[in-house]
């Protein structure tokens, strides 16, 4: 099944663009670190043992929106385990060890097991998915993720008939995450999806962005990305995926249930109790003199996902 919006450009065009940007960024950084000694050629990059490349073929569902600059995607993050300022994750996440790494998959499945990160990297063909990302704080980005549909993993563990929801638990390592000392959320961070949301082809496990493996501040080594929901639903640095019959507890909903619902679908008509969700600012593009842009229903993915919520009152089940 290929669902593409009519105005989408060819994935090949997107890929070449982002690969170009990635190389340029990487060369700049590598150069700054002195990793590439004499030559700054792309060959040097390809052969460099320090290259953290993650080959990805153009995927379906990519947006035609211009990807947000690498420096913003990796420098302006919400990852409270490393502090609550947007610059904190880039500064402190480097301390987190992402090798070795295993993700435990259990609960209502016929074949519970754990996956090592090396195995996950080869579990299914890695695709580039350029998705819009809308934060609940009314800003947005466009991020070229590398990963595969979460359904690829789900199929392999064979959920039982009781599996109605999927819960996600993320890393909580006291030695590298000073934010765990803050009483802002319950740790480890927890998220959850309904089974049909988890199985939807747009929902991915991401292992990289801009053609490289994930930087720590973006949720290395493996994270969830659900592009039609507010960013906090896309849990980072996953350590456990459990299938449950009951709706699982989620971190933000537990912290403030009247402000953050279980679904948290991007919805311009349902305001956060304290601020409007009707508009947003696109990071790196909407500067001083641009108006805020209109937020789209389901973050622009209504065509693909609206069917999941047919008959639901989205104002009450927000």
């Amino acid at each position: 099944m290929i669902i593409r919006r009519p105005n989408d450009i060819l994935p090949s065009e997107i890929t070449s663009h982002s690969v170009y940007r990635r190389r340029r960024e990487f060369l700049k950084q590598a150069g700054a670190l002195g990793l590439i000694a004499a030559s700054g050629s792309e060959l040097a990059l390809a052969q460099s043992p320090t290259a953290t490349k993650l080959a990805a073929k153009p995927g379906r569902y990519s947006t035609t929106d211009k990807p947000t600059a690498y420096k913003y995607v990796t420098g302006y993050n919400n990852y409270y385990e490393f502090g609550t300022d947007k610059e904190d994750p880039a500064e402190y996440a480097g301390k987190m060890k992402t090798r070795p790494w295993t993700v435990v998959v259990d609960g209502e499945v016929k074949k519970p097991r754990s996956f090592g990160i090396e195995e996950l990297l080869k579990l299914a063909p890695i695709e580039e998915r350029i998705y819009r990302m809308r934060c609940v704080e009314a800003w947005s980005m466009v991020i070229p993720w590398s990963g595969f549909s979460l359904s690829e993993l789900i199929r392999r563990v064979e959920p039982t008939g009781n599996a109605k929801y999927v819960s996600f638990s993320t890393a909580a390592d006291r030695s590298s995450m000073h934010g765990l000392g803050l009483p802002v959320l319950e740790w480890p961070y927890a998220e959850g999806l309904r089974m049909d949301e988890a199985m939807h082809p747009l929902t991915i496990l991401s292992l990289g962005l801009y053609g490289e493996i994930l930087p720590n501040q973006n949720g290395a080594p493996v994270r969830l990305v659900v592009p039609w929901k507010y960013g906090f639903k896309s849990a980072k640095s996953l350590v456990r995926i459990s299938f449950t019959e009951q709706q699982p507890k989620t971190a933000w909903n537990t912290a403030a249930a009247q402000e953050y619902g279980f679904y948290s679908n991007v919805n311009p008509e349902v305001d956060h109790p304290r601020w409007s969700q009707a508009t947003e600012r696109r990071i790196g593009e909407d500067g001083f003199l641009s108006q805020r842009r209109k937020t789209l229903m389901f973050n622009g993915y209504a065509e693909q996902v609206a069917g999941l919520y047919k008959g639901m009152d989205l104002k009450r089940q927000f």
Partner: protein, 209 residues
Amino acid sequence: MGWNPGRGQLAALKAGLFALALVPMVQLVWRALAEALGANPVEAVQRSTGWWALFFLLATLAVTPLRRWTGLGWLPGWRRMLGLYAFFYAAAHFTTYAWLDVWFDPEAILKDVVKRPFITVGFAALVIMIPLALTSTRGMQRRLGRRWRSLHSAVYAAGILGVLHFWWLVKRDIREPLAFGAVLAVLLGARLLARRTAKGSPQAAPENK
């Protein structure tokens, strides 16, 4: 009592403070021109101006208790300048919102003020600060006499509303609004305590001049 600098020294000190208080604004303009405000420049300006507005509001409120504790009789000479700086940053803060956020759309502003409690209280704080700024001159002070002092005790209301505004806009991390709130509580407490001692003991030194 305390350190008693000469007139020239005092004037130099005050000029230095004036320049220092302008630094956050100069820095903002500089970074804006150099496109160095980061990923979300409008938010960066909103945060900086709001933060400094509240900072100077509390600094203004700190003058009287500080004078009482230190005995530095010339401190109140700074109060007006600090208060006007609070208003300056608050006005810049509101302008950023009204201009870059809602493009001077009166309907949008009205809707926000009515619908969003954090903006309601921020707006109230700003509205309170306007007459205070307008009546901050020495002439006005003389003309209003006793009423001037009761009018200007509204600074406390502005401070409380400003802290509430900050509190209600953060998502989960309330450490900063909490810190501002704690400082405000101490200043308010000091004022109430002073009033009580003044009332309780008639021979206590008269407040202010």
